[in-house]
Symmetry: D2
Subunit: 404 residues, 4 copies
């Protein structure tokens, strides 16, 4: 047993922290304002390209891609990537700087794993180069999508093509003007066994019949310039080879991508929470009420202590899950992945909320990143499966194991 | 002891519910879109004036003003007003329809109580008629304003005028283009005893030196078209008679207005929470996952039951506080007012959050009012004194009483 | 609406408080020691009879019995009785002083309502006079008894007798040497519709075949000298007229008694919680750590404030339930009764636990009543139906009402 | 980073689990009854000596003693000991079987570190052999002992002796008839700087002037046959060499012992919690209510899942603290030790309480170990410093570090 990051991780983490300190924190507010005040709020500010180049030059690029996808990516294990991903989580938009932002990460993994050469050339390479962005269209407004068997979008074979019809929403990334490709989840066979009805298919955003209807808010935030779109698919036709792996493999592909996707979100949320705590520690020292700094209040100290304990525990659980995924694979680690998905978003919500309270009205304002972080943490309690679904599965498995 | 609303209240409540059903719910989304899509997001949609006239015609006007301010207002007690205020709370913008929205309500009370005839004529009458709006400038960005003795804005006598310098923010209402008058809290004497340094003064919004700097966000929401402004006061000069009551009375006036102000917020929040629960009950019945409606899940039933218990308890506490204010005055009721201010916002946050979770991604979207309600509830944990200040005072008083 | 106790209640409450102050608090520890150190821990100390006589002389007797049971009892409404019952809750054994202790109260109501003249003469009169005690045998070790349809004890008609076989536990009161009569719940027809299988029957404790096996602990406490017994029924024969009302009425009788029974427990728990808070207020003022009284710590004040808010809310909810039962009957009030049963025990557990923490090690000791109160509150989360069953029913009803 | 136990630990853990399975669980209830039904409830049942011998033979002896105390003990690191200590925590009395029970463990460490040869011969050797037991007398009834500077017991030099006067309580172990030696904390100099007033001194239990007054309850439990005593010291005289290290070193010695002591308690509590969860998993599968096993209820699954997440997180935090103590020493690890002391007891209380609820009335009974485990977990929220003191220190340190 060893709770310390290995040397490779420590070296990368040091480099990343230096990058964040020199290049990111100083322009955080500027970047946010650039998005807000730009002519098109779905256009990524120029600044991002500059930062990307610097990150690439610094060797901080595609850090999320594990060994198996070499030559692509940095070849880090999940456990090695975790502290880096956490660090990026401290600034909401910063993952993109290092080409480590969702949903591109998951899409790149899927393309690297299942794409044919042409698809890789066309979509994976520019994604790996950070030249384009992508989206993953799964959730539907009409049904409880946490139960994937409810999904209603149809993917129908007609000759050499598939025809797609359906309505998606919260398709993250699809608002961005640089989003070029979507992976769409739908059903190729409504009568197959429950988990073999679904398929996933590549749909270029500019395909006829695809309409980006509107941006969806997440707790009042629109996450510009990335956004979460409502997308309409009306008789959208794509070549048959755009179907990934084969008909009926959609559920399996989703499971494959959601494991790492969930843990990445949790790592980022730990970064959010840690930053919220760091900010709180500074605020309570600086702010005076009723004759003394807030930091001298026993209640504030208790709250700070509990925030720290909660973060540290969630961090360790996430690292353990990452370590297990590295050693035994995602499938064997499903219970630990469920556990962090249950723990981290709620922890982050609570910690950030406490920090907001310590900041007073300022904590709810646009001058601090706390409210946007809260919205992010809150939505992850629903994204990639609501807490309740993960608790259902984890609880069921634990009971079954015990009574086996 | 009697837990039933009196006949007067029941009759008004019935009328109000009918009005909400016929006039307000049907246009709720339309109104929200009108604000969003208007040319100027700080301009109240025309629709509001139509609704106001209908409400006035229906005898649902200025319901908040107690007997003592007759002929103004409906002459209701706090306990009679409470269920009506709760009902209005179900639609975030609806208080204005009945001319019962903050901060106008508090400002009207202050003007009715302390204004001279000219001031009443100029500001109170149009406020009572719902022709103009107003703001209350208290919170400052530079200091922990929950401790009113920290306030730094200066109000300095120079001849027949007072000169005001300072920076305020979260001045609710001041973004609205129809906001004409502000009540400003500042210090006339920095060397007086702690609670006699502050004064309140009337400042027309168009006075030279007043700058509405920018709108402030509250958890991602800007509460258009009302808004919360950052306001700069640079050598702002107003006639000496604009000072309310007298120098050093600012703290006392603030205490007077905040009691009813706090309870009104709590009543509205109970309305928010009840609506969130009502929506949840409908959603879980309609939504199917893993083979049955959510409503059949034991966890959902437990959650619904707890939401109900929490709402009902907070409602009763609020009603008791209102009843006590009616019988013994605001000062004697301070502990009960503190109690509801501690209880209601947190309860509303929790209940609304649960309802969001039951709604899935939709619950976080702009299509449902839940996320905006959450933001409102969350900010009231800070507005009019953060929870911690109320707990400090209530705790201290309870200990003192017991050891007296 | 009126949140003040009526004059009758206030007068009785004043008298009761005086009695508690003069007669009960001063001997509380003495009484506890008398039980502990007596030769037989299931024998009620002599002191109790003295106190009973004083209470009767003072007109504080059988306060629980509503108007409908006149000439028995004080003829109080539930809402009038509630504050008195709360007051008695402050000392765990004090309800018996006023002949208001469970399970005698419920048994007396059942006997008054369903007993024939002979049964009343034999059991009800001595119970009303506080001369004997009684027990109610419902819960069984072998099955989840919260679902009454699980009950396995059989009550079989044989000629003029019923024969009872089964095993009960947590039969409260049955350990006491003065316990003379039990009401036993069992099944007369295992094949009838779910809620018509059960019957209730009177069984004198000294009937052949009845074995008081052992006392059951409740969170480490044995509640001497009353106790909760494991009771074995082996071919126990009683006359047929001992069956209450008729075969198949057991579930209905249980429902009838459990409504008031539950609310009485909740009232007592509010008394427990209030006393725990009162004790905490005194302790934190007296105790010094790190240079100042605990009472000056912001965290302590926050905690005290929250304890107060939680108690007050639960109290109001209980009073509202009582008031509704008085106005509309127990059946119509089922949702409110469920609500208080969900709220009050958990509230009491939390408040008492906080008070224990403020008392340090002493709070966990036998020198303070807090740990025994905690155990009582904790067991009420299970007794008369676990929280989950009440939440299931309340949640289901709320959803159904909303979607009706 | 590596989350797996090393081979040495795994081998010992396997051996320990086998021992528990074969020797301990089967006699758990028998042992508890032997204590209850023995003539002297403060006499350890004979059975214990048999078990001790078996454990010693199996090489499961003095596992707590780190390398530095060789040849005594097993020479395990804290991280290696942790999973073993957790395993022992599953049966409340089992630590003694392996000679790893508090307060002997801490006392042995202190004697090994600070005792002279004669003291080691006399007290340490029989303790290491499990022949006698010992106590640690620190907490006092009259003052808030969490602030060690409050302690009032005096240790006064008179010639070649020290004279001790004072009253202690919750002196764990001192009720046991085999308890021979106490380490007593008191003040040798009331005027020295705050943390140099205290000293620790060895006091044989049979010294004149020592009175074991009575056993103290902890949440209704007396923890027979070990117990927590009230102890009176009246002019107790011991040789001067019984003073450990030197005058004024008492606070330092206490700090040294409390670090490992706290983490051992936390490890045991994790064992308690894990067992409570294991029992819950079995119970909910076996118990049927309202037509299906509890295990099928979504609420039960959610609860089970959360229990697991909370245990696993606390376990990881404890292991990290142990690992840090091993690498950098106790002093550097103080924040992590504080963190686990804050986290583990509350976690254990919550998990055990949930398991009790799932067990119904049985969960509160003497037939299951849950209520005793709850009492243990609850008292650790106070023992070795109440949560609030640890939160105060941790919060203060975190804020200071951030603003350094």
């Amino acid at each position: 047993m060893n709770f310390e990051y290995n040397e490779k991780t420590q070296a990368l983490l040091e480099k990343l922290r230096a990058f964040m300190k020199e290049e990111v924190y100083p322009i955080e507010q500027e970047y946010i304002h650039a998005v807000e005040n730009g002519e098109n709020r779905w256009k990524t500010p120029e600044l991002m390209q500059t930062l990307k180049q610097k990150a690439r030059d610094a060797g901080l690029w595609n850090l999320f891609l594990p060994e198996e996808y070499k030559p692509y990516g940095a070849g880090l294990t999940n456990a090695e990537y975790a502290p880096l991903c956490e660090e990026m989580g401290r600034v909401l938009f910063s993952s993109e700087i290092f080409n480590c932002s969702a949903p591109d990460t998951g899409n790149m993994e899927v393309l690297a794993k299942y794409g044919n050469e042409e698809q890789k050339e066309k979509w994976l390479v520019p994604l790996l180069n950070g030249e384009i962005r992508s989206a993953f269209a799964m959730t539907e407004p009409a049904v409880a999508s946490s139960d994937a068997t409810n999904i209603e979008t149809s993917i129908t074979r007609e000759g050499d093509e598939y025809v797609i019809n359906g309505k998606k929403w919260y398709t993250s990334g699809a608002m961005n003007e640089n989003c070029k490709i979507m992976i769409v989840m739908g059903k190729t066979d409504f009568d197959a066994p429950r988990h073999q009805q679904q398929s996933q298919i590549l749909v270029p955003v500019d395909t006829k019949g695809v309409t980006i209807v509107r941006p969806m808010a997440a707790m009042g935030f629109y996450d510009e310039p990335i956004g979460h779109a409502e997308v309409l698919f009306e008789n959208v036709r794509v070549p048959a080879e755009n179907l990934l792996v084969g008909e009926g493999k959609g559920f399996e592909i989703a499971q494959g991508r959601l494991g790492p996707g969930r843990i990445h979100h949790c790592m980022r949320l730990i970064g959010c929470a840690q930053r919220a705590l760091d900010m709180a520690c500074e605020r309570v020292e600086a702010r005076v009420a009723f004759g003394k700094p807030l930091a001298k209040q026993q209640s504030v100290r208790e709250s700070i202590a509990k925030m720290h304990c909660d973060i540290e525990q969630a961090r360790l659980l996430t690292l353990k899950a990452a370590d297990k995924m590295d050693r035994y694979g995602n499938k064997v680690s499903r219970d630990l992945i469920a556990a962090i998905k249950i723990v981290a978003p709620t922890m982050a919500c609570n910690v950030i909320d406490e920090s907001i309270q310590m900041h007073g009205a300022a904590g709810t304002s646009q001058d601090f990143v706390l409210s946007a972080m809260y919205a992010y943490a809150r939505t992850i309690k629903l994204a990639d499966g609501p807490d309740q679904v993960h608790m259902m599965q984890l609880g069921r498995n634990l009971i079954a194991d015990k009574n086996a």
